[in-house]
């Protein structure tokens, strides 16, 4: 029997779980980074093990028990078994894989920045600036203009991330910022954006599952990382491809743990992407910065990273950064208003034509032509009820074919996810 959940609750649980696993994983990344001395080698070996682990877990989760796969009973109800990708998915997987590859190479390049000292608490905040990129991308492609609240929240999270990322010596590295803004975040945006597109695709009338999406993302990311590394090796005159292969054998244990953590962190993240907007999922996942602090303290205790700062000024700045991020995340997640609009159409007007006109209105999330007392049920998503009325309802009312409409605001919602 399926039980319905509050969508927002499941979304938050998934995104926070992903952040906690990612924070723990960042500690293992630091150790692996300490063992290898080159980010190309680290990236290649990480994706080789990522592929092996993803394949292994996808096969294990495909085993059926009482007619349903383990994966569908535990991690994602949409998962049936491991499968080949469809034609419709290829382009999205290629772009998401390219994004993952670029983002990972950039992320590992930061590990070898002398100002950051391979500390997760200093490196992870940088990557959170991607929220700004996602808000812009969503406003262009998802026919949803960002509201003032969204822009404010994105900026608050970004400034919080920048303050939180001040290195232990109190400096900000220009090289690191260039890598963040020009490599990691564009890559991360591609990755998040197309993974969400993949999650929204229906496969045989069922939502696409996060386990197959993750497996195939790693396959494409491995291919792109090999191509990019090979091109760099030709320019550089080195052989990082072979280095990556041998490193994945020599440091199999640490890389296996790292790949396992990454697999589950992304399975949760992709499921969260299927529920909420990419920018909001990313905002919640930004709490990885907070969870990375205890990880950094443990690593510094064992001597893997520089000692955690005790300078009160730096600690206050970092604390302000964290508080700003949390405030930004809360305002991002709690201000979504949904409404149903029930519409009757005047005789003599085409239903199909009206449907297309309704769909073109920004903020309209779903249009259903229905049989019954009404002709359409329209679902709208806005940041405030005032904006919903001003921007959406007024435009619906202006359509000449509309005879009558009723707006009903959603107070609470449960859903099978």
């Amino acid at each position: 029997m399926k039980i319905k959940f509050r969508k927002r609750h499941l979304f938050l649980v998934l995104a926070f779980s992903s952040a906690i696993i990612a924070a723990m994983n960042s500690g293992v990344d630091s150790i692996a980074g300490d063992l290898m001395n080159n980010y190309w080698v680290l990236s290649i070996s990480c994706f080789i093990l990522g592929f092996i682990v993803s394949l292994l877990f996808s096969c294990l989760l495909s085993i059926p028990i009482k007619g349903k796969s383990i994966g569908s009973q535990t991690f994602d109800p949409s998962f049936n078994r491991i499968r080949l990708i469809t034609k419709q998915e290829i382009a999205y997987h290629a772009l998401a894989g390219l994004g993952n590859s670029i983002m990972t190479i950039g992320y590992f390049a930061l590990f070898y920045d002398p100002n950051l000292g391979r500390s997760p608490a200093a490196i992870l905040p940088f990557a959170q600036v991607v929220i700004l990129y996602l808000v812009v991308a969503e406003s262009i492609t998802e026919k949803d203009t960002p509201t003032l609240v969204e822009i404010q929240s994105a900026l608050i999270v970004t400034f919080g991330a920048i303050l939180g990322s001040i290195s232990l010596s109190g400096t900000i590295s220009v090289r690191a910022l260039a890598i963040v803004f020009l490599i990691i975040n564009p890559g991360s945006m591609l990755f998040s954006f197309y993974q969400r597109k993949l999650k929204m695709i229906k496969i045989k009338d069922k939502p696409n599952d996060s386990i197959n999406i993750r497996l195939w993302n790693v396959v494409f990311a491995l291919i792109f990382t090999c191509i990019i590394t090979f091109c760099w090796s030709l320019y550089d005159g080195t052989n990082y491809l072979f280095g990556g292969l041998t490193a994945s054998i020599n440091y199999f244990g640490w890389l296996f743990i790292m790949a396992t953590g990454t697999f589950f962190s992304f399975v949760f993240y992709i499921r969260a992407l299927g529920i909420g907007k990419a920018s909001i999922a990313q905002a919640v996942k930004s709490t990885v910065i907070i969870f990375s602090i205890p990880v950094t303290i443990v690593l510094s205790y064992y001597g893997y990273v520089d000692p955690f700062t005790t300078d009160p000024t730096l600690l206050i700045i970092k604390a302000i950064g964290m508080i700003l991020m949390i405030l930004g995340i809360i305002s991002f997640t709690v201000t979504l208003a949904k409404s149903y609009v029930f519409i009757k159409v005047k005789p003599g007007y085409s239903i199909e034509d009206t449907m297309q006109k309704l769909w073109k209105i920004k903020g309209v999330n779903r249009v259903c032509a229905v049989a019954g007392p009404y002709d359409f049920v329209v679902k709208i998503h806005t940041r405030t009820f005032v904006k919903g009325y001003e921007r959406i309802i007024r435009k619906i009312a202006e359509l000449p074919s509309i005879k009558e409409y009723k707006m009903q605001s959603v107070l609470k919602e449960w859903e099978n996810i």
């Binding site: 149903y340 259903c368 019954g372 707006m407 605001s409």
Partner: protein, 79 residues
């Protein structure tokens, strides 16, 4: 697969218990408490019209449900 919206009018004070009952019905994909003329909007996803009838029947048997209005979806556009 057939999808439908079922719009419910409730007797005052019965929403919480009725929703707890509805959350157990397998073919219901979404339940929303709303303000306005209706009290609850339910989205059902079923394999046939016969099963849709079974769902509306189950809903009407729940204590506190005053009236149901079913809207079968003929075509849908979603993001």
């Amino acid at each position: 697969m057939i999808s439908a919206y079922i719009l419910l009018n409730m007797k005052p004070g019965n929403n919480e218990k009725a929703i707890a009952e509805m959350r157990k019905i397998e073919d219901i994909a979404k339940i929303s408490i709303v303000t306005g003329e209706y009290d609850i909007v339910v989205r059902a996803q079923v394999e046939s019209l016969e099963k849709l009838l079974a769902v509306t029947d189950k809903i009407q048997m729940i204590k506190g449900v005053n009236k149901t209005t079913t809207q079968v979806i003929e075509k849908e556009i979603t993001s």
